[in-house]
Symmetry: C2
Subunit: 889 residues, 2 copies
């Protein structure tokens, strides 16, 4: 950067602006928008912005400034003086300015601000005379001294507050407003003494000195502890730096023809296209924020609705209001988005002090996007881009009433959205029992396992001590649409006496808690929740999304209920049916265990024969719901020991069923236990070692498909998925069994079912050797959960111990189980897709990991060119939107 | 293949050969070598080979033959008739032939053979007249009928044996030789009746019919059960097929001027360059093999050494012996390798019936390779290529006496070479106790863990029920040079009463067993072992290897004993020092546990302060032994819970040391337990979450290096290795701590130590993002154990349940933990090496997984261009050789 050739200062005002809103990185958000507003002719007090590049220079050069800065600032001050007619240090018409920070990203309250700069003994007296208001002038002066001394000179602000209290005591008044102008003149002298005593220097009287002191303080505050922490939490790089905005002061507190207020161009809560805001007569902006006086509604309609008898700005200052309402329309049209405004009225004249894109609720964002598109303000594509998919997801679930009072017990991970309150239960059986009796329950567990599924289904919400965003609890809860907070590390259990300890709180079964699966918070007692409402805007925007997106959206589902929910949410088939989830029912687990315990394939086949009709019925139901749509069925995947009996009773039961001794059953259990089950005897390894399992499942699929077709429904398209393959040979072995059964069933029924055989690409080797695998596989479904576990070497069940430290240290910008790690796991997906297509150009490519419901990941999958994403039923709408968004970016 | 244009039959004989030894795939090993021998003018009975392509044709065309085969066979028979003067079915001079199989790979005894083909009623009589020996002719005829009827016509050979017994009884003789010519003439008639009765057909009298029957039988036997099993066990594809060799018979049993024998051109047991073999006068080849008569030594020297008074062939048949000795020299020169020969002398004339490369012991292979290179018979490079590195590894360990009698109890995996006998002990403590009392013990465990190390060290051998070739037991045993059999799935334990059950055998502590870590076999009782002898040839070949290889060879070692052993075996530094192994000593584990249990970093630092001096001493010892050589030290890698206390006593002890309650200690233990520890809170994740651990280790390294340098020894070159990194950021964080400590220690001691900071590439993401990582890392060491676990998604501790099925089904040709999976894991190593070099061209690249000692893997690493391999001390010599071999191929 050339020190003397670079422009370091950008002016704005009625005579035109040197910057505009596109220069956010250079001028900060505030500065860029002030310049933009002034540039389009809105009434903005004149001022200038010292760029963020000066901040970088400042830190790179031992807190010094570029050589040419001083002259540029002096010229910019002169420009303000010319526009306002006021001058620095001119007692007759003193120029006062505010000095504020303004970074690229909003960092509210994190850095320092100095107001009323330019006051000194002479100009304070001049201001008093000019405004004919000694109190106003010296109150401003004493505030300026306190603020400046604190921020720039490091004098403890408590000293000034003590002096103020003493002054009030001396005069027997309780409020600051009780002090007279003379009292404040005296207080200013005391303040100046404090400054001299504490800093060893007199309070600076030269406005130029004051200005440079304030500018330096703002730049220095970029690195203060608060700002540094805020940046870390919000992923804002320190290198961005802050700009400094110097602007002529305007006063909303110079009388009853003065006012100040904030407004939104539409209702940020509902999204309704009304002017929404508050104002205060004869007040400063700080008063609105500080809540010392209750602000009044902006519009007549709002005032009437409030039924408080308050007078709206529309009524009190009709002319200025019309002017402000015009600004509202002008700004929304200009920015094509809902704006959050700050304004001040000084002696009947309107000044705009800030505009920015307004924060809004999920419901409001949806409504505004749809209405703005319908108004022609934005395009449909733009409307889709505007919607935050995480927020969209929340729309489908109950949320906490923001006005309810809450006591936070602890915070875990926001594992599945929605809020739920209920009685604590510590076991799945108990959850089912109480729910059957009409109780609302929260299932609280160290962690959940597939055997808890009935209890999770019965519960309104699930809270676990262990596990990350893709732990069993999280995945299953999202699939079921249950609220879930996982990995709440502060939980301790004493199950013998049915107690849970959360930090210092001791809770028993039956005590009521509330969880917010959208934030991860856990509250004591019952917090009021608000039920979701799907507005017409939802259907509208979903239809737009469907018109726009290229990728299909399927769902991960194995129960008829989930499948139906998903179809209602617009799923276009099943991308992942996890057949193992079908075996945990009470009437099936015994046969399943018998199969596992069998000494040989004859024993296994006899147990499998019992499972066949159940499994066939499962598929018949799914095929009927998904008539004509593709249904991807994954063959048995988890390590067999997940189905093992735990208690002695269960052991005896299965031993009896399998015709073996309890001791043999115990030994077999022991032999099946694994050190790292995630990398163990599971997936297609089961099919290779026990082909009869694969055979039974294939038969159930083809018999079910034939039965549904026979029943007259549109024939389903089964896609048989072989899990955890790493080699073409594994596929060849399993495919042979599947093809054999398909042919056998076709021979028996006379009905030939179209089907595909493919694999889940969830191991690095599978992605690397995808060309080989594609010789056998007719489709790939990327299993990015396991692919993340293996590529990164992280067990998602154990990641809780360090993932927090990892995201804090920006080792991974976000939890890679939540949003795909593009450089590592993403590279494997890309490699797998490319190599798969190189061997089989029409190979169908999908993704069925948890990332299938994550917008950032969906954007990546669009880029790689996958054919579909598959996610849990409740994430289908967000996925449809994200897929559309990805297609237009 | 063009049916009529292809040549299906290749003749050989004194008039020249159509084939040669390069045509092994087409003619089989036997046929190719017969053609070669005939081609270089050796005396080979004429014959022809029907190619392996006919076998393929046979199976692809419903067991029919190519159209032109018949004419080619007839022409080839005519060529034999022309050379020998004998003719099929000519009573005056009948042509007799043998019909034998001969595949590309040797499959001894697996397929069918027919001898003496051509005999019928007329030619038998003619042969009797011509040889003037009725007995010889009819004994040959009855043998032919029995063999042919059995092999070709499916008549039970027991019937012929019964008839023979009856004949002997009738004539009151005990041996076959007691029967006269006339007895045998009568027996032949009985045999022919049996054939007619059993098969419903007369025994074929036409030699042409006989020939086609025998050829069909040989081809059919390619698919018999024995051959199929043998092929499966030896990885021979069925598609190779067998050739059929038809050759004129010669007889070693026509009188005392006849003989038959087998010979090796050098001693296959010691490798000494002497003519080594056995012969029998007036006998058939079968007699030598069957052991009915004891064969006699070939040479005078051997006969004298035997002191049995036997007459050698050199003395008994001096002229033929000289001729045979010439053939020996000629064949060895021709094949440039030790040959295994079969010969027959018929009426004073020598015939060569087979030559092939001879099997040899590891010691013999070594000696021959060195001596042949010194003789100029082969090049040094060729000598290196000749040595089987697995065999070389065996040379360093005791082996079982091949002559000892053995009772096999079970078979596990050959996890660490060497044979060992000793008392069974079931715990590491007991092993140490008994070994201290001078007992030889075998530690028998379900599996081993780091806490068993002292017991493994005390034991002569280790036997485990679980775990694969790279389980903890296997890796540690190889490192220590202890014999180990792992994954012996038949073992069951009842530890309460100190019993082990192996299949039906019940064994107690104190019972003696023997294990062979080279084969995986377990024997009852004490089997005699032979101690290794390192001959001069060993040193010679190692020196050649060192001259030839490009890659350096380092060792994986952490104890001074291992480090010294490795240096003795030629290691050029330490490639992997696993610091966690240093913390299991009784005096250290408590401090280690205290560190883990500490509530905060202050507590951890106080415990680490106790460990620092111990760790520093460890490194001082290693640096002293490795003076001037690089020493790669891996920072603490395993999940902390591996160090956790198990018993209540241990829990109480550590709670006291850490100043916490036993209950808190229990809770903390529970919290540290993991679902998949392999993918858990370990590696650099420990350093990221607990930087004080990294800091202590770095300090210990630099303080130790300074102390050694101060002591005047050549300064060591520490290479600090950060384990399990997946991102550049992890390296950046850890490297900052290491660099800080290095600077701090340099400041305190005034000695500046050169060091490198690098990482272990053991996760797929690390290989994929190796360019990023190389920005931070000055070296990569590929940790192919973990890389295999993650890329293939296989836990090596759990692979036992299915790996056998996987290698059987050829899903992986060999266990990927033994030899690197080139297509998957290898692709990642290649990617990591290339991308690492693209960012940092001089990055040092090594490998320190178990594959560092595997020759096939080393060949791959040479191809990828790694700078060094590192392996356990006992594998260093084999690695040096393999690295050399890789460099010349």
């Amino acid at each position: 950067m050339n020190e003397t050739a670079t422009q370091w200062v950008y002016s704005f005002g009625a005579n035109g602006s040197e910057g505009d809103s596109s220069m956010r990185n250079l001028l900060g958000g505030k500065g860029a928008n002030l310049a933009e507003m002034a540039g389009i002719g809105l009434p903005v007090p004149p001022g200038f912005t010292i760029t963020t590049e000066v901040c970088s220079w400042f830190y790179n050069n031992a807190k010094s400034y570029p050589q040419t800065l001083k002259a540029e600032v002096e010229a910019a001050v002169a420009r303000i003086e010319a526009e306002t007619g006021a001058r620095f240090a001119d007692p007759k018409n003193p120029l006062l300015v505010s000095v504020r920070s303004g970074a690229r990203a909003s960092m509210p309250g994190m850095m320092d601000t100095v107001l009323n700069l330019g006051l000194n003994d002479a100009t304070a007296a001049g201001l008093a005379a000019r405004a004919d208001d000694t109190r106003f002038a010296y109150d401003s002066y004493r505030r300026f001294i306190q603020m400046y001394a604190d921020v720039v000179m490091g004098v403890d602000h408590g000293l000034f507050e003590d002096a103020l209290e003493e002054m009030k005591l001396r005069h027997g008044v309780f409020d600051d407003t009780g002090l007279t102008g003379d009292n404040l003149v005296a207080l200013v002298d005391i303040y100046k003494d404090i400054v001299a005593d504490e800093s060893g220097e007199a309070f600076p009287q030269d406005p130029g000195d004051q200005l440079w002191g304030a500018v330096g303080a703002v730049f220095t505050s970029w690195m203060n502890a608060r700002a540094t922490t805020y940046r870390r939490l919000n992923n804002i790089p320190a290198s961005w730096g802050t700009a400094v905005n110097v602007q002529a002061m305007v006063f909303g507190n110079m009388g009853d023809d003065c006012a100040t207020g904030v407004a939104f161009t539409r209702d940020p809560s509902t999204g309704e296209n009304i002017f929404y805001g508050e104002y205060l007569i004869n007040a400063q902006g700080e008063d609105v924020v500080a809540g010392i006086r209750t602000p009044l509604p902006l519009t007549r309609t709002a005032a009437q609705a409030a039924e408080t008898g308050d007078v709206s700005m529309e009524e009190a200052m009709p002319e200025v209001f019309v002017q402000l309402d015009t600004v509202r329309t002008q700004l929304e049209a200009h920015y094509a988005d809902m704006q959050d405004l700050e304004f001040t009225v000084q002696q009947g004249k309107l000044y705009m002090l800030q505009t920015r894109s307004g924060k809004r609720t999920a419901a409001a964002a949806l409504r505004m996007a749809v209405e703005m598109a319908e108004e022609g303000l934005i395009s449909r594509d733009e409307a889709l881009l505007r919607l935050d998919p995480v927020a969209l997801d929340q729309l489908l679930h109950p949320t906490l009433d923001p006005d309810a009072s809450k006591t936070v017990l602890t915070q875990g991970l926001p594992a599945s959205p929605g809020a739920a309150a209920g009685e604590i239960v510590l076991s799945a059986d108990r959850a089912e029992e109480l729910a059957a009796g009409g109780k609302q329950v929260i299932l609280v567990r160290l962690e959940t396992s597939p055997e808890d599924i009935h209890g999770m289904h019965a519960a309104a919400g699930i809270l676990t001590a262990r596990g990350g965003m893709t732990s069993h609890a999280a995945v299953v809860a999202r699939g079921m649409g249950r609220a879930c907070v996982s990995g709440a590390g502060d939980l301790r259990f004493d199950e013998t006496i049915g107690k849970v300890y959360i930090r210092d709180h001791e809770l028993s079964e039956g005590d009521i808690i509330t969880i917010d699966g959208g934030t991860g918070e856990v509250f004591s007692g019952s917090v009021k929740t608000i039920q979701p409402e799907m507005s017409g805007a939802f259907a509208t925007v979903m239809a737009w999304a469907d018109d726009t997106r290229r990728m299909a959206v399927r769902t991960n589902a194995e129960t008829p209920a989930d499948a139906r929910t998903a179809v209602d949410f617009g799923a276009e088939g099943i991308g992942l049916c996890r057949t193992e989830h079908m075996f945990f029912d009470v009437d099936r687990i015994v046969a399943m265990r018998e199969m596992i315990m069998a000494a040989d394939s004859v024993g296994r086949e006899s147990a499998l024969a019992k499972l066949l009709p159940m499994q066939r019925r499962d598929f018949e139901e799914l095929f009927t719901i998904m008539a004509g749509l593709p249904v991807t069925i994954r063959l048995l995947d988890p390590p067999l020991h997940e189905f093992l009996p735990h208690s002695a009773d269960e052991l005896a039961e299965v031993a009896a069923a399998a015709g073996i001794t309890a001791e043999t059953a115990r030994q077999r259990s022991l032999k099946l236990s694994e050190s790292n089950p995630m990398l163990g005897h599971r997936g297609c390894r089961l099919a290779v070692t026990y082909p009869e399992i694969c055979r039974m499942q294939a038969r159930a699929i083809f018999e079910a498909a034939s039965n549904v077709a026979k029943g007259g429904a549109e024939a389903p398209v089964p896609e048989v998925m072989i899990p955890l393959a790493a080699t073409a040979k594994e596929l060849e072995i399993c495919k042979a069994v599947i093809d054999q059964e398909a042919a056998a069933v076709a021979g028996e029924t006379g009905i030939s079912i179209s089907y595909l055989v493919g694999t889940m690409v969830e191991l690095p080797r599978a992605a690397i050797c995808a060309d080989d695998l594609a010789e056998q596989a007719e489709f790939f479904s990327f299993g990015t959960n396991d692919l993340t576990q293996t590529a990164l070497g992280i067990s998602r069940d154990d990641a809780g111990a360090f993932m927090h430290a990892y995201t804090d240290a920006e080792i991974y910008p976000v939890d890679p189980f939540v949003s795909i790690d593009v450089d590592g796991v993403g590279a494997l997906v890309k490699m797998g897709a490319e190599r798969g297509r190189s061997m089989r150009s029409d190979i169908k490519l999908g993704i069925c990991g948890e990332h299938g419901g994550d917008p950032a990941s969906i954007t990546f999958f669009e880029k790689v060119g996958l054919d579909y994403v598959s996610c849990s039923p409740y994430r289908v709408p967000a996925a449809r939107r994200a897929a559309a968004q990805a297609a237009v970016t």
